[in-house]
Symmetry: C2
Subunit: 254 residues, 2 copies
Amino acid sequence: MGKINTLEKPTPEKTTRFIKNAIKKSKLLTIAGKCEVDYQGRADGYLPLGERITILKPDGTTLVHQKNNSDPINWQPPGSRPSVKTQNKKVELKSERTSPNETLTITIHETLHTTSYNLTDGAQLTLNKQESQMQKQITKNPEIIEEGLRIIEAERKTGYGRIDLFGRDSQGNNVIIELKRKRVGPKAVDQLQRYIDYYQEKGYKNIRGILVSPSITPNAQKRIEDQKLEHIKLEPPKTKPQRIKTLDQFKNQQ
Amino acid sequence: MGKINTLEKPTPEKTTRFIKNAIKKSKLLTIAGKCEVDYQGRADGYLPLGERITILKPDGTTLVHQKNNSDPINWQPPGSRPSVKTQNKKVELKSERTSPNETLTITIHETLHTTSYNLTDGAQLTLNKQESQMQKQITKNPEIIEEGLRIIEAERKTGYGRIDLFGRDSQGNNVIIELKRKRVGPKAVDQLQRYIDYYQEKGYKNIRGILVSPSITPNAQKRIEDQKLEHIKLEPPKTKPQRIKTLDQFKNQQ
DNA sequence: GCCTAGGTCCCGTCC
DNA sequence: GGACGGGGCCTAGGC
């Protein structure tokens, strides 16, 4: 862990110098201050003056967080290029990127507190109850869905997207399976129907569509029946979490 | 702005006391530290030891940010209830909520830096180039879509979701319009078709479906044609940003 | 609470 | 780069 530096109530000039240095040294930076935010890009936005926390990450990510809510009120994704200058006694922190062309401008009228960090972290999250785990589970034990079912391919490509599981039943029918980790609405039924349409356009006969999820809304159930599709209840599995070691962690142990 | 407090390399006991106090006083808190994270809820997850920034907001939001990426690696949404204790010389910060039942446990092995803030901010973001602005624009000037079109209702309810715009053309046909602020794929075509199905099930005749967006993928274009729907190119409008004043800002001026 | 859709969604993956 | 789907999505608006 590198040194952590903090400034309290610094002048605009000091703030600018501090941010510049943090960017150069690839540090993670937090700035608490009274600021206004302008965004031009996929949309245009303006956020009037207020006290917020801005986070600048070494990968170019920029986040402006208000005191409420999970999501940042303004942001710039990884890969953006930050720059900073003092203008009219204010700190102007810009984060720009191309494709798409986007500019986030944070004008800091008053810096309350700023800190730079050098974090060491190569760990990766492992997650359970995922759709991909349902896919593996069913591939291994297709009888969970139906006796006699054979899975032929996972992630089979169509012109309209990838089919989660493609198989054949004991009667020789083609079976298209769409998996969802949680309760589904009409959208999931459409997705399944779209894949079926693709094969029907190609002249396939005897196609069954099965939507697999823990539950379904009444409207989606009605649509499943109207379109002669099927729904099967299944919870996403909870497998043992694997703990992955990364290069960064390995280095730490040296 | 209330006082900002910072601790550098505090003991677990000091950290726990500091966090407890920040929660009680409804402050926004950042903690830089070496931690592992356990999550149980809609999914299950585990993140091994590493150095991260944890943010605890006064509304119960909890965010764990690694040095890369826009999204927090672990989090808890607003309304979650935080609690903290020292255990085995480690700080255990929990954030729990009900419906759904979820628990986030951040075990801090080493606190590097922690700061509490009291932020004043009642400002709201104004955004341009939104779908809702396309809706208003077309409602005002339906000829943008087609000469003789009359808009009858916005956000009209169906059993399968809300129609962006419902109208009638110069020939007396019912027109269902689906708006998108950016390039669309097959999903948007399905959404439009679903609303049409609803009215066809109800016995309506002469229904046209129009998808409006700046552009469309080739596959979606094919599907539009196959299903005898229409696509019209339109960019989301850029209207004057309005600057909304909120109670919080008003108070600041007193 | 459930249902549905929008989003500067982000993010991964495969072409 | 475009295209497409998944997500602990989050968030807003109805009912």
